[in-house]
């Protein structure tokens, strides 16, 4: 009897431990991210989309718990893909409930990262699946791939530095699919010279890239909800 109970206990541990570890790791990540109630950041926004010509610009980035996120270019226009809130890991994870499923380990740039697949518990969540690559020691997410119902699949690659203790990256590279996007045929006359110049441009790989390089953060200083309207 004793042997049987030891056998089942070991069996339970064998199957439950990785899931438990994944949940613990997710909790560690959430704890770190949820320590940031709000932030405003100064950043440089770079947009690299084959059918867009947007100059790099200085932007202000605002986040407030649980998922209020906004990028503003003072006196200018900023353009982000729909679901751009996923640029912010805080917006993606903070205050939301997930089932964490372990996915093993991988190595990125010589860094051993745990793979966690997150299944949202909310039925009406736009996010279907999120895969995180997390460094266990620091509980920092280095890569997040999110599949949504409405806006396709997004990939966020983070690089950390000065603000890693808050789980806030110095750089985010956001990759999204642009191959399905079509601009409507213009109704006005278009200049042939511009058309000929554009015809020589490479068409790209069907992916759009948005980079945010943060120069500074102001954390937990309080932000009015009206800022996000």
């Amino acid at each position: 009897m004793k042997r049987i109970s030891i056998f089942f206990s070991l069996l339970f541990l064998a199957f439950s431990s990785p899931a438990q570890d994944a949940q613990n790791l997710l909790n560690a990540v959430k704890k770190k991210l949820e320590a940031v109630k709000d932030y405003s950041g100064d950043a440089t926004l770079s947009v690299d989309v084959s059918f867009m010509k947007v100059p790099d610009s200085k932007v202000k980035v605002y986040f407030r718990q649980p998922d209020l996120f906004k990028i503003i270019k003072p006196d200018g226009i900023s353009i982000l893909p729909k679901g751009g809130m996923n640029v912010s890991l805080n917006s993606l994870i903070s205050g939301k409930e997930f089932t964490a499923v372990p996915g093993g380990y991988t190595s990125v740039n010589g860094r051993k990262l745990a793979i966690i697949k997150l299944l949202p518990l909310a039925d009406n969540s736009d996010v279907v699946l999120t895969t995180l690559l997390v460094e266990e020691k620091s509980a920092l997410v280095w890569k997040a791939t999110t599949t949504t119902r409405e806006n396709g699949t997004y990939e966020s690659n983070m690089e950390y530095g000065r603000f890693s203790q808050w789980g806030l990256p110095d750089k985010i590279l956001f990759v999204f699919n642009t191959s399905t996007f079509k601009l409507p045929k213009g109704v006005t006359m278009e200049y042939e010279g511009s058309k000929n110049t554009n015809a020589t441009k490479p068409t790209g790989d069907g992916k759009g890239r948005v980079s945010l390089f943060y120069s500074s953060y102001s954390i937990n200083k309080g932000l009015a909800p009206g800022l996000f309207k």
Binding site: I72, G76, I77, S78, N151, T188, M189, E190, Y191, G193
Partner: protein
């Protein structure tokens, strides 16, 4: 030359119909500005529908620079008619009034007379464009303020930074002056053949309408002739709103238009010098 030019300018600006063009442009720009002031945001939401389905756009898209671009896009198609009204009347109008024969009895060469008339038409054209620039750019910016300029094309979206826009408008209006002077030169050339100004005005507009249709239709058989139509090059001002500016095609278009102006002017002088003036 200066006294001749003064006389021609006096004749142009003495006629009340000259001011119809200024009034028409003023009325159209005022209506467009009023429409944008009252319901611009809905118009923008509708115009950017395809883009906002996939992208979040933050910031003041509707600003004076964008409205000026929309006005230029709308008006520069129609301004040739207003130019032709004056340029097409330069010689034919004199013939119609019976003053042309009297005019060439004066001790002034026909070439100098025509040059004075053409320069006067060109100055009228430039004044009309300055009036348009004042209303479309200065008043729009005064009412709606400045900001980044977002242009939606059929192949791309271009966003130009606030500080990088104004010089493009100066360049665009400069280019538009060359384009509209081409129209003036064509109307002026046709004016030599007619005894009243209706003929050259209607013919100029007919040529522009037909050429514009050929330039607009994206049909392979027409694509081969497009580079040879001056109307294809008349919208070269839009090249200044590319990022970076398509300098080579824009300069090429400006060169082609200048060649047209020179060609029409030389042809006008050649025909007029040989013409037996009976009216």
């Amino acid at each position: 030359m200066w006294p001749l030019l003064q006389i021609e300018l006096f004749k142009i600006f003495k006629r009340s119909r000259t001011y119809i063009s200024f009034a028409a442009i003023g009325a159209i720009v005022a209506l467009i500005l009023l429409a944008f002031y009252a319901d611009g945001n809905n118009y923008m939401a509708f115009g950017m529908q395809s883009l906002t389905q996939s992208f979040d756009i933050q910031g003041k898209v509707l600003n004076g620079y964008l409205i000026c671009f929309i006005i230029l896009q709308t008006l520069l198609i129609h301004v040739p008619l207003l130019i032709a009204l004056v340029a097409g009347d330069q010689v034919a109008g004199e013939a119609n009034m019976g003053t042309l024969r009297l005019l060439i009895t004066k001790p002034v060469s026909r070439t100098r007379l025509l040059l004075a008339k053409f320069i006067a038409s060109t100055l009228y054209t430039i004044l009309l464009l300055l009036w348009m620039a004042l209303l479309a750019l200065v008043v729009s910016v005064w009412i709606f303020g400045t900001g980044d300029l977002m242009i939606l094309k059929s192949t791309e979206v271009v966003i130009l930074e606030n500080t990088d826009v104004l010089w493009r408008y100066f360049a665009a209006f400069g280019f538009a002056a060359i384009a509209m002077t081409t129209v003036a030169a064509l109307a002026f050339f046709l004016s030599v053949f007619a005894e009243n100004s209706i003929g050259p005005i209607v013919t100029t507009m007919s040529v522009i309408i037909v050429f514009t249709i050929l330039s607009t239709m994206d049909i392979p058989i027409f694509n081969t002739i497009k580079p040879f139509l001056f109307t294809t090059h008349m919208i070269g001002w839009k090249g200044f709103f590319d990022a970076p500016v398509s300098w080579s095609p824009v300069l090429q278009s400006a060169g082609i238009l200048l060649l047209h102006i020179a060609g029409f002017l030389v042809a006008t002088i050649w025909v007029f010098r040989k013409k037996d003036i009976l009216s």
